[in-house]
Amino acid sequence: MIRQDFHQVDPKRRATLDHKKKQFAAPVYKQQDYPHRLNFYEVPPTAEITLEQFEQWAIDRLRILAEIEACSYRNKSPAETEAHITPLLQKYLPLSSNTSSSLGATDQRLKNERQKDHYSHFILRLAFSATEDLRRRFARAETMLFRFRFQKDDSRERRAFIESLNLDWEPVSDEERRELSEHLVNATPGLRRVDEESWYKVDWERVPELVERRSVFLYRGKAYVPGREQLSMIIAEFTARLERSLELTSRALPRLDEDDRLTPILNHLSKNFGSAESVYSEGEGFVDGAPITAQNIDQLSQHFPLCMRSLHMSLRKNNHLKHYGRLQYTLFLKGIGLSLEECILFWRQSFKGFTDDEFNSRYKYNIRHAYGDVGGDVNRRGRGYPPYSCQKILGDSNPGVGQTHGCPYRHFSVDNLIGLLQSTGVSDRELLRGVREDVEKTRYHIACNRVFEWTHKAEIKRVKEDGTWNQTDLDTIVHPNTYFKRSYLLKQVGRAPKKA
C-alpha cells in the first residue's frame, strides 16, 4: 500500500514509494509537459539529454541573451530591439504559441521547442550563478527575454499562463469595483474610468513601488491594481524568483557532484557571456567557395571592415604589426576561413624584414596559439580564441603609440578617420558628414554600417528588390567577420546577377 502525502509533494521527485525505502529507489520524476508557451522556470528539468544537446541548446540561448544585452548596451529602443531579436529568436530559440499548431500544446514540435527553452534556461543558470555580476546580468537578460515573449504572446494564452502561475491575484468583481469606483479613481493616477480596466487584488507587498508613491488603492492589506500594471508585476515576480533561485544555485554549485563532462562546458559558456563573442559561432564567417588563401588576402581586403582594412594597410606599409594588431587581424583571418598553414604563410610573407628563424621564434607560436594548435588544454579544446566582435574591439583599451589595432571609428581622431575613409574610396560628402555625427554621438556601429550601406548600396537595392535577401540578412553588423561575409556575398551577387 502506497501512502500518499498530499501535503508535501516534492515538485520534482515523485513520492511513489514508502519513504523508508525512498533513498534506495531510483527516483521517478514527474513528466513535464508544457501546456503554455511561456515558462516561469520553476521546476528544473529531469529528463535525459545528450551532451551535444546540452551544449548546443545552451549556446543557442546564450546567443540570444548576448544579443539582447548588446541591444540594451547600444541603447536600442524596444521597437529596434524587437526588430533585431525576432528573426534571431526564430532561428535559434523558436517558441511557438499553441494556436500555431492544429494540435495545440500536444504537438511534438511545440513540445520540443518548449523543452529546449526550458532546458537551456536551466543549463545557463548553472553557468551563470557563480558570481554576483554574472547572476545580475543573466537575470537582466532573461527578464528582458521574458518580457519580450510575454508581450508577443497571444492574449488568451497569456491569460491562461498567468492563471497557471497561481500568483494569488484575485480578480475584483464588478460589484466590488462599482462600490469602490470612487476610491479606485482617486488612488490611481492617470485613470479616467474604472470600467476601462480589469482590476486585481494582490498583497500590497507585491507592489511596493506603487505603495510608496501612494498611487494604488489599499484596503486591508490588499492593493487594487489595474490591469495595465499586470506586466510590471509579472516581470517583477519573474525577476524576483529568478534572482532567488540563482542565489540558491550558487550556494549549491560547490556541491555539484559531477564528473568532468559538464563543468568545462559550463565554464566555457560563462566565460563567453558578455562579450558579444558568443554571438559569433565558429565558422559563421566562412564563405563557401571563396578562394581564401594567403595570396588572395590583398584582393579580398576590399571587403574588410575599416578596422581590418587599416590593419592590412599598415601591415603592407610597415611590413610589421604590433602584437595586438596581429592578434586582432589573425583572429579575423581565422574567422573568414583562412587555414592555419595559409595564415602562417601569409604572416611569413608579410613580415619581410625578418629571417625564418626570427619569424619562427617570435611570431609563429602566437599564430598557432590563436588557432588553438598549441597551448593549454582549454585553448586547444576551444580551438583558440574566437574572432573579436565589435563590442570587444570597442571595449579594449585605446591603442598606444605605434599600435594599430582597435576600431578606427572609435580610436582614431575624426580627421584621421575621414582621411582613412577617403583613402579607401569613400568620399561622398553627405556620407562623411553622417559619419562625423555618428562618431560624435559615440554611435560607432552606426557609422560603420552607414559606410557599409553606402559602399554596397547598388547591391543591397538589388537583393532587396528580387527578394533573395530578407531583413535578417541585412541586419546591423556587429562583427567584423559578418561585415566581410556580407560584403563578399553582395559583391558576388553583383557580379553574377543570375545566381538564383
Binding site: P189, W204, E205, P208, R214, F217
Partner: protein, 524 residues
C-alpha cells in the same frame, strides 16, 4: 472567590491562562501551578514546565525576600526617602533597581516578543541593547528565557534598554561567524512620532517640554497612522507606547509586519510620509488631485483637530510671523494683499478669525483670477501641513533599527514608557503617566493599608513553596497591581493575548503534533 471553577475543568479558562500565566485574581491562577506541578511530575514536559514555574516564582520572590526590609519594618521611612528624592529628572540607581525588581513586567515583555510561552528563537535571537548607568552602550545582548533576561537586567541595572531585530543566529555569537553571516530576519514594524518635529507649529512649548495642548498633535498623529495601518495595510496588532517624554512609538506586531524586508518598510514609510523639505522650503504639502483615499480620509480625521488645536488652542496664526507663513501658502496674490491689509490693521486678531477671513474675503471677489477649487485645495494642503503626522521615517525603514522598550523608565522624566490604548488615545495624558518614584510609593502605601496581605507575602516569600497563600485561598497580589501601573500592564496583557491567539492559530496549522503539549502548558 476567584477559583470557583477549577482551571482543569474549564477549557475557556485554560486558554486565558496560557496567555496570562500570572494573571490577577479574577483568573483562577492560584491553584494552577500547584496542579501543574503534580501533573508535571508525571509528564514528559516536566522540565519545560518547571522552567515556567520557576519563572513564576521569581516574580513572587522578590517582593517577599528583598522588599520586606523596607516595606514591613519601616514603611514610613521609605516614603520619606521617596519624597525627599531629587526631582524625577534624575532616577538614582537604587530606584531603578527596585523598579526592575518589583514592577517591570518581564514575563509579559517576554511573551510579547516570544510570541508564545515556550522560549523560541523569536526571543532567544532577539537583540537587546542596554544603556548602563555610566552611559556605556551594550549592543547584541540576547537571552534564552524570560528568567535569564530578568536576571541580567537586574545585574546590569541599565538606565534603559532598546529592542532590536531577531537575527538568524544568536547575536551573542556574532563574533564566531564570518562577516555578513548574521542577518536580521524579523522585527516589528515601528514608527516614531516626536513633538520636536512640530516645533515650528506649536506655540505652547518647545524642545523637550510638552503640555496637554501640544500632546494633541501626537494624538492626531496616532489616529491617522493607526487608521491607515489597520484599514489600508490590514494590520491588527498595533501597540502604541508613550516614549516617556514628548512622543510616541508604534510597534506593529502582526507576523506579516514583522517579516517585512527593508524595501517594503520603506514603501510603508513613503506611503505615510507627506511633508517634504525643512522649515525654509516654503509650501511643504503639494498633493495631486484627486486626493488619494488615504489623504482624503486623513483630512477628514484632521479637520476638527485643525479647528480646535491649531486655530484655538495653539492659536498658531496670531503672531504676524506665522500669519505671513500662512499667506505664503495661499495661491492668490490679490487675496493675500487684502488679507495682509486687514490683519495689519488688527494685530491681535485670532487664528480662527483669520482662517475665516480667507473665505470671506475670497467671496467678496477681491480677486477675479482665483478659482474656488484652487483656494479649497490650498486650504486642504494647509490643514494637512499643520496637522498631518510628522514621522521620523528613518526609524521605520530599517529592520535593524533599535527602539526603546515599552515599560522602561525615561531617564529624563522618570516616567514609565507605558502603552497607550489607541482606541482611547484622546484620554491619554502624558503628564499623568506615573513616575518610578510615585509607583514605588504606591506599593508602600498599599502595603501599609493592607498589612495582612503584606504579612502574608512575607510568610509566603520565606517558604520555598510560593503558593501557600493560594492554598489558603487568597492570591497574593503582584506589586504592579498595587499601583497606578496596573491599567497599563493590563492593557499590555490583553494586547499580548490578542497577538498570541493569532500566533497560536498559525502555529497549530504548521504543526499539529504540538497541540497536545500546548494544551498541557496552558494550565497555568
Amino acid at each position: 472567590m476567584p477559583h470557583s471553577v477549577s482551571p482543569g475543568e474549564s477549557p475557556s479558562h485554560r486558554n486565558d491562562e496560557e496567555v496570562l500565566p500570572d494573571a490577577p485574581p479574577t483568573d483562577a491562577t492560584p491553584s494552577g501551578p500547584e496542579e501543574k506541578e503534580s501533573e508535571a511530575t508525571e509528564n514528559d514536559t516536566k522540565d519545560r514546565l518547571a522552567d515556567l514555574l520557576f519563572d513564576d516564582d521569581d516574580d513572587d520572590e522578590f517582593p517577599a525576600s528583598s522588599a520586606p526590609d523596607t516595606k514591613n519594618e519601616n514603611p514610613a521611612s521609605r516614603d520619606a526617602v521617596d519624597s525627599s528624592a531629587p526631582q524625577p529628572a534624575h532616577v538614582d540607581t537604587d530606584t531603578m533597581l527596585a523598579f526592575y525588581q518589583r514592577l517591570f513586567p518581564f514575563r509579559y515583555l517576554f511573551q510579547w516578543l516570544n510570541h508564545g510561552i515556550v522560549p523560541s528563537p523569536d526571543f532567544g535571537n532577539r537583540e537587546f541593547a542596554l544603556t548602563l548607568q555610566n552611559d556605556a552602550y551594550l549592543r547584541y545582548q540576547s537571552y534564552a528565557t524570560a528568567d535569564l533576561f530578568r536576571k541580567d537586567i537586574l545585574r546590569m541595572n541599565p538606565s534603559r534598554f532598546e529592542i532590536g531585530p531577531v537575527y538568524n543566529t544568536n547575536p551573542r555569537d556574532r563574533k564566531t561567524l564570518r562577516g555578513g553571516q548574521m542577518k536580521p530576519v524579523s522585527k516589528e514594524l515601528v514608527f516614531d512620532i516626536d513633538l520636536t518635529d512640530y516645533d515650528d507649529i506649536r506655540s505652547c512649548c518647545e524642545k523637550a517640554n510638552i503640555c496637554g495642548k501640544c500632546w494633541t498633535f501626537v494624538t492626531m498623529a496616532m489616529k491617522v497612522v493607526d487608521t491607515a495601518l489597520r484599514d489600508d495595510f490590514g494590520f491588527q496588532h498595533i501597540l502604541w507606547v508613550y516614549s516617556g517624554r514628548r512622543g510616541a512609538h508604534a510597534w506593529v506586531c502582526d507576523p506579516r509586519a514583522r517579516s517585512l524586508p527593508d524595501d517594503r518598510r520603506r514603501a510603508i514609510a513613503g506611503y505615510l510620509d507627506l511633508l517634504r523639505g525643512g522649515a525654509q522650503s516654503g509650501k511643504r504639502v503639494n498633493l495631486k488631485r484627486p486626493l488619494h483615499p488615504h489623504m482624503s480620509r486623513s483630512l477628514e480625521i484632521l479637520k476638527p483637530y485643525f479647528a480646535q488645536t491649531t486655530l484655538v488652542d495653539q492659536d498658531t496664526f496670531v503672531s504676524s510671523e506665522q500669519a505671513q507663513r500662512l499667506l505664503a501658502l495661499l495661491p492668490d496674490k490679490a487675496l493675500n494683499d487684502a488679507l495682509r491689509k486687514k490683519w495689519e490693521s488688527s494685530p491681535d486678531r485670532s487664528s480662527t478669525n483669520k482662517w475665516a477671513d480667507i473665505d470671506s474675503l475670497a467671496k467678496t471677489g477681491k480677486s477675479s483670477t482665483l478659482k474656488t477649487s484652487t483656494l479649497r485645495e490650498a486650504k486642504q494642503d494647509i490643514v494637512l501641513e499643520y496637522t498631518y503626522p510628522r514621522l521620523d521615517s528613518e526609524v521605520s525603514k530599517k529592520m535593524i533599527h533599535l527602539l526603546k522598550s515599552p515599560f522602561v523608565i525615561h531617564p529624563g522624566t522618570g516616567r514609565v514608557c507605558v502603552p497607550i490604548d489607541a482606541r482611547k488615545a484622546e484620554q491619554f495624558d502624558p503628564l499623568s503617566v506615573p513616575t518610578v518614584t510615585q509607583l514605588l510609593g504606591e506599593i508602600d502605601a498599599y502595603d501599609a493599608e493592607n498589612p495582612s496581605n503584606g504579612a502574608g507575602d512575607a510568610v509566603d516569600g520565606e517558604g520555598s513553596v510560593p503558593n501557600d497563600s493560594d492554598v489558603r485561598g487568597s492570591r497574593k497580589l503582584q506589586d504592579y497591581e498595587k499601583t497606578s501601573l496596573k491599567p497599563y500592564v493590563d492593557y499590555f496583557r490583553s494586547f499580548i493575548a490578542g497577538l498570541l491567539k493569532e500566533e497560536r492559530g498559525g502555529k497549530r496549522e504548521r504543526n499539529e503534533d504540538m497541540t497536545e503539549v500546548k494544551t498541557e502548558s496552558m494550565e497555568f
